[in-house]
Symmetry: C2
Subunit: 88 residues, 2 copies
DNA sequence: GATCATCCCGGTACTAGAATCCCGGACATG
DNA sequence: CATGTCCGGGATTCTAGTACCGGGATGATC
């Protein structure tokens, strides 16, 4: 077994991460934020839609940096199944 | 252009991240920390040695969580060229 | 209501790399 | 000598990151 397929748990985290980032983005366009964070708009959109479940540390850090989020808080939100993002 | 090769800047960040994690690990064994963080010891070792420059967000978060580090501080350290990790 | 612009979406395709495993070696310690 | 831990290299598989495509929804302008 090498490079196991993503666990459902990780996919779930990815979706929460995406939803969280989208919320934080607010009215700003994907393009704007992506360019600001120095990542491809396509990449950001994939992350937001959950199609990229486990983005690179640097990618997430860049985006959260642009959005003014704390990495620790983001991780806490994402790993807390009790706190439903869509409900917040 | 698809999936550009890692920029030297990213590789540099990877090395700093590895050095930082190794320092934080202290006397604990790689095996111990890796198992605790639910990642493969091989993976942790590669990250520490800088051979994996841009680990996944979840991977870094898990390791820093075990080591009691702040993701924000880690990112700040890694992205601050002025603060040489080996000097701290 | 037709046209244009902007934004978001899902799919496809491709490359470079992450994450994992196995192996052999080095180096201590018991 | 045996055991345990760390190390690098090789190999494998899955994924991230990027780009391009067509399409849908909205809103403004003509």
């Amino acid at each position: 077994m090498v490079r196991l397929p993503l666990a459902p748990e990780e996919i779930e985290r990815g979706k929460r991460l995406g939803a969280l980032l989208r919320l934080a983005r607010g009215p700003r366009s994907i393009l704007d934020v992506a360019l600001d964070a120095r990542v491809s708009p396509e990449t950001l959109r994939k992350i937001e839609t959950g199609r990229v479940a486990t983005p690179a540390f640097s990618t997430v850090a860049a985006v959260t940096g642009v959005l003014g989020l704390s990495l620790d808080e983001v991780w806490a939100q994402v790993t807390a199944p009790a706190d439903d993002v869509s409900r917040v």
